[in-house]
């Protein structure tokens, strides 16, 4: 399987995860969407030197992963794959900001390192929250929630189309690349000319396919809407989920639990 196959496999795998069955999977997608947002906004609202205060927030992804049985190792691997940009921009902090913030023993820790590690923590928290959202909910349910939130229909409908055809077109692209590589005796990466005619042909096929899909859908009575059979209900559980987590996030935002704990422990050691 080449790169392309792996990518669409990845999306398919996350949809498989979303079809799992746990109380968290069964929650209304709207509840999960709102809670994820409260979480992300709370995490990024800390100032740039926030370090220890961020750690209690790991409770959210950890508890969700534990309760739903999502594969933690797989999610962690995905987080690592996308980390370069944040790390690249963050790594300049230690160079720019050399003011010493505090000492551990005789080693001075500069503000830059503190803010760099803070960026890494934020990154891990926000990215895992988003990945958990989709692997607990599934893309179609997220779209259904978007419609309920009042996102314009044409946008959501084409989003659903888009999602469905990712798999078809990725497969098609994969077949074309494989065929090309057979004919070139696996001579390594593709040249510009081959690449363009391959891409151009894929595009032409895509346009024809869109046409056929449209006519087929007209035959089946397409009127610009896609109807999703899934009843969504906000019950006691959803309200508990949103307000429980929301209250915890806001509590952790305004009370520095790790500092209290640390002062207590170091006090004992003295």
């Amino acid at each position: 399987m080449n790169n392309i196959g792996r990518n669409s496999f990845d999306i398919g795998y996350m949809d498989t995860l979303a079809s799992g069955d746990s109380p968290l999977h069964r929650l209304d997608p709207r509840a999960k969407l709102i809670t994820t947002f409260i979480f992300i906004v709370t995490v990024v609202s800390f100032d740039r030197y926030a370090l220890a205060v961020l750690t209690p927030f790991f409770i959210y992804p950890i508890v969700l992963i534990a309760l739903s049985g999502l594969p933690a190792g797989y999610l962690l691997k995905k987080v690592l794959i996308v980390s370069p940009f944040a790390i690249l921009v963050g790594i300049f902090n230690p160079l720019m900001d050399r003011g010493i913030l505090f000492h551990i023993g005789s080693i001075g820790i500069s503000g830059g390192w503190v803010s760099f590690i803070s960026i890494v923590l934020r990154f891990m928290l926000t990215v895992t929250a988003a990945l958990i959202l989709v692997s607990l909910t599934g893309f179609n349910a997220v779209c259904a929630a978007l419609i309920k939130f009042g996102v314009p229909k044409p946008f959501v409908v084409q989003l659903l189309f888009f999602y469905r055809y990712i798999f078809v077109l990725s497969d098609e692209a994969e077949r074309m690349v494989r065929a090309g590589s057979f004919r070139a005796f696996h001579s390594g990466a593709m040249g510009f000319k081959t690449f363009i005619s391959l891409l151009g042909n894929l595009l032409l096929r895509t346009l024809d396919r869109a046409e056929r899909i449209y006519y087929a859908m007209c035959c089946r009575g397409f009127d610009g809407n896609i109807r999703i059979i899934r009843s969504m209900r906000i019950t006691y559980q959803e309200i508990m989920f949103i307000f429980g987590w929301g209250a915890l996030f806001i509590f952790l935002r305004y009370f520095n639990v790790p500092l209290k704990l640390g002062t207590f422990i170091t006090g004992l050691l003295k």
């Binding site: 990712i166 046409e211 790790p258």
Partner: protein, 340 residues
């Protein structure tokens, strides 16, 4: 060049979210008004095409690196600005959700950088002006190439501004610009060449596709002023609301949901300072680009040496302990789940 949640502040993320949401609403309204049911499946399938095509790479001679199709520009050429903007937003949403490429809060920034510039600035003001009503191969190539380069330059500049306004990264404005723009010039040239070649390929094979795309949106119908008005209004409302929330809270950067009673002394020191820095950044940033450079000295010293270093070490110890407790809770829950 996807922005990440970890690098933006809630105010920047929020403003860009509202601006982007406004644009999506406006574009969706336009699509609805066109009343062309045909377009919606076409948009979805073309989005999937962009997605799939980004997985195909070609090798760039003599560099060892590889390039692929970017998207915004070619979508605008094939679909017109409104539909292209919606498709670009969808591609970025799927990338954010499944590949964690750019975060959820940063989604507004990313859609703006990669969607707004190519669709609403470059396509009508550059590509259409160059190509005109009687396209030739040369004009199409030139328009796509220049369009893609300028679009990417604007997008990269957007990333720089959003990062600097957020103030999480220490990179000074000037350094960041010097880093970002040339890199994206190179990327833009590659993307421009690919876009130009693919559009020419389609034009040669099936000229009617491009003609149909051009005719479905006569240039007079695209009201740039209206688009900009929607954008500015959305941004002003969002900015105004967020800054009102922020200023009614000494914490500066976030909305005031709760009163900050019983807060740590250390924290309030820091917060007042952060909000001051925020104001300073907003007011002093544009007239003087050099401002950021001197910030680390003026900022870190007055606040932190005042802090008893014992407190910071306690914070660190506490943080590590909290993390361990969180992991233990998780392991415990999973064990209970497996046992059940």
């Amino acid at each position: 060049m996807h922005m990440a949640d970890a690098l933006i502040s809630p105010v920047v993320g929020g403003v860009m979210w509202v601006a982007t949401a406004g644009l999506i609403g406006y574009s969706a309204k336009k699509i609805k008004e066109e009343g062309d049911n045909h377009k919606v499946p076409l948009m979805g399938v073309l989005g999937a095409f962009i997605f799939a095509s980004q997985m195909i790479n070609f090798s760039i001679p003599a560099t060892g690196s590889s390039g692929h199709l970017g998207g915004g520009m070619i979508l605008a050429i094939l679909l017109g600005p409104y539909a292209a903007f919606l498709v670009m937003a969808s591609v970025l949403i799927v990338q954010a959700l499944f590949f964690a490429d750019g975060g959820l809060l940063a989604l507004g920034c990313n859609i703006f950088n990669l969607g707004f510039f190519p669709c609403f600035i470059v396509y009508p003001l550059i590509y259409r002006k160059i190509v005109g009503d009687n396209p030739t191969q040369g004009k199409i190539m030139l328009g796509s190439l220049i369009g893609a380069i300028i679009g990417l330059q604007l997008g990269a500049f957007g990333v720089v501004l959003e990062t600097v306004f957020s103030g999480i990264s220490e990179l000074p404005f000037r350094t960041f610009v010097i880093l970002m723009q040339p890199i994206h010039l190179a990327i833009g040239v590659v993307e421009g060449l690919v876009t130009a070649a693919v559009v020419t390929f389609v034009w040669k094979a099936r000229p009617e596709i491009l003609n149909a795309a051009r005719n479905s949106i006569p240039i007079g119908k695209l009201n740039i002023k209206k688009v900009l008005l929607v954008l500015v209004l959305a941004a002003v409302i969002a900015g105004g609301m967020l800054s009102w929330f922020a200023s009614s809270n000494p914490d500066g950067l976030e909305w005031a949901m709760f009163k900050t009673s019983g807060k740590e002394e250390l924290e309030s020191h820091e917060s007042v300072h952060v909000s001051l820095a925020g104001i300073q950044e907003k007011t002093a940033f544009l007239p003087d680009y050099g401002f950021k450079k001197s910030e680390p000295e003026t900022e870190a010293k007055p606040v932190w040496p005042a802090v008893d270093s014992g407190t910071s070490v306690s914070g660190l110890v506490g943080g590590i302990l909290t993390l361990m407790v969180a992991v233990l809770i998780g392991l415990g829950l999973r064990q209970r789940k497996n046992a059940a």
